[in-house]
């Protein structure tokens, strides 16, 4: 269902546990935090169930993040789902929300996040393990509070552009001095529909332009990779394949990036 923003917030008081798909508007998250709701980020693997359980609802050849969201939605006991289907997410999420609304006995509320207030991107520019920073960024969508004790920025030696991958293991190949760009940076900034921020990259450092296979962002990732003077375009589906790992490893090493 689609409600006006005020109604979407007002009905939060009826729920105890909600799932989110994408990044719903900050006022929704703030309201959920104020009511003490448990928030599950359905885009992340949360349950030990086969991804095939999503196949009756979505094609097998489909975004692995949304297939994961469907598996989570089917197996978690939720009171409602807030799915962002605006310019900060994608048409695939809109269609997934339509399908879930019919398949589940709970309300599936579509939102359109057009937030423009920048909350900053300290994690994207910090010198810390890339996996830890990406975990913190994805955890951050469940809280309306800004980043506590933001780390200092570092000089980058490499960059990762894209969405948080379904399989974080590929992030372990990057050095701690890797800056994050793309939609993951928009997530930390709490402006997921900021397409100008999403398209930014640093031409001075070797950059891996990553997208989930079958995601519309593969076009943007490949387009930007062609514009960047030293880039690797990479798309990965459910799990990081050995050839994907080898490509990243070789790209970084042959670019002179130290681990």
């Amino acid at each position: 269902m689609t409600l006006d923003p005020a109604s979407s917030v007002a009905i939060l008081s009826r729920f105890r546990k909600i799932g989110i798909i994408g990044v719903p508007p900050l006022e929704i998250i703030r309201g959920a935090n104020e009511h003490g709701l448990v928030i599950h980020d359905l885009d992340e693997p949360l349950v030990r169930e086969d991804l095939e359980t999503a196949s009756p609802y979505l094609p097998r050849v489909y975004c692995a993040i949304l297939r994961t969201a469907v598996v989570n939605a089917l197996h978690l006991e939720l009171d409602a789902i807030y799915a962002d289907t605006g310019p900060g997410k994608c048409d695939c999420a809109l269609h997934t929300a339509t399908i879930l609304a019919e398949a589940l006995p709970i309300p599936v509320i579509c939102t359109k996040n057009t937030d423009t207030v920048a909350c900053g991107t300290p994690l994207c520019q910090a010198r810390l393990p890339l996996i830890d920073r990406m975990l913190a960024i994805t955890a951050g969508v469940k809280s309306a509070a800004p980043c506590q004790n933001p780390p200092d920025p570092c000089t980058p030696t490499a960059a990762f552009w894209g969405v948080p991958p379904r399989d974080f293991s590929i992030l372990g190949l990057f050095p701690d001095t890797t800056h994050i760009h793309g939609w993951a940076r928009c997530m930390e900034n709490k402006t997921p529909a900021d397409h100008a921020l999403e398209a930014q990259f640093n031409p001075e450092v070797p950059t891996v332009f990553f997208a989930q296979s079958f995601c519309a962002k593969t076009a943007l990732a490949r387009y930007l990779a062609k514009k960047h003077p030293h880039a690797l375009y990479l798309d990965v589906d459910v799990h990081t394949t050995s050839s994907a790992r080898a490509k990243v490893q070789a790209f970084l090493e042959l670019s002179g990036v130290r681990p």
């Binding site: 030293h230 690797l232 050839s243 490509k247 490893q249 070789a250 090493e253 042959l254 990036v257």
Partner: protein, 222 residues
């Protein structure tokens, strides 16, 4: 120091401590389980050595050792996958590794030669080609063509040409490319590329390992 390139169908070895020694080849299915080398590459390599270099890095280092130009495309066509590196101004500019949609192309070419008792040195490059993106799926085109009356040799030659064109496109459709891998010895395959081809043979990755053995550390970022 013994170097090993552990491929899907063939393994190649070079002993750096034996001056003038030539690389040795052994079919992977005949490889003794207890084999150990000092430095390995290839998708089977991790099992046989303590130190492993991934295939793209070995390919790139081999290219740096064998090719004098600053700008080139080096394409490796193996049994299981295809991969390429492109250098511009003496630096890595692009790379690719297709282990999924390029699956089993080299393996299928060898399989067809044996199954149909063909000799690729005697087959001419055909005018027509199949649109082949995968060795396994491409076999259907051969069967369909044979059923429709095309000679087996002609159908297989179209398949081989289709694989060469697919690999050429994968490498970015260059005007000239350097070719690595066992398919360098297949004149039908080499002749099917719609561009100038320089065949470097099947030991490019071993040359890359040799370079890694001498210069193991990458230069720091400037």
């Amino acid at each position: 120091m013994i170097l090993g390139d552990f491929g899907t169908s063939y393994c190649k070895f070079l002993d750096l401590d034996a001056p003038g020694a030539k690389p040795a080849i052994i079919a992977t299915k005949e490889l003794p389980r207890e084999t150990r080398v000092d430095l390995a590459t290839g998708h089977n390599g991790k099992r046989f050595a303590d130190r492993y270099v991934n295939e793209l890095i070995a390919l790139a280092r081999g290219g740096e050792a064998l090719i004098e130009e600053d700008e080139y495309v080096l394409l490796d066509c193996g049994s299981r996958d295809i991969k390429f590196i492109r250098y511009a101004n003496g630096k890595l500019a692009d790379m690719g590794w297709n282990a999924e949609c390029g699956a089993s192309m080299g393996f299928t070419i060898e399989l067809l030669e044996r199954y149909y008792e063909l000799d690729y040195t005697r087959l001419r490059v055909p005018e027509q080609t199949f649109s082949v993106t995968c060795g396994v799926l491409g076999m259907s085109d051969i069967f369909d063509a044979v059923i429709s009356g095309v000679e087996v040799a002609e159908a297989v030659a179209r398949f081989v040409k289709g694989i060469a064109i697919n690999a050429y496109r994968f490498a970015g459709s260059p005007a000239k490319l350097y070719l690595s891998g066992g398919l360098c010895d297949n004149p039908l395959f080499v002749g099917s590329f719609p561009c100038q081809v320089t065949a470097l043979g099947r030991f490019v990755l071993l040359r890359g390992l040799e370079a890694e053995a001498h210069h193991p550390s990458p230069p720091p970022v400037s």
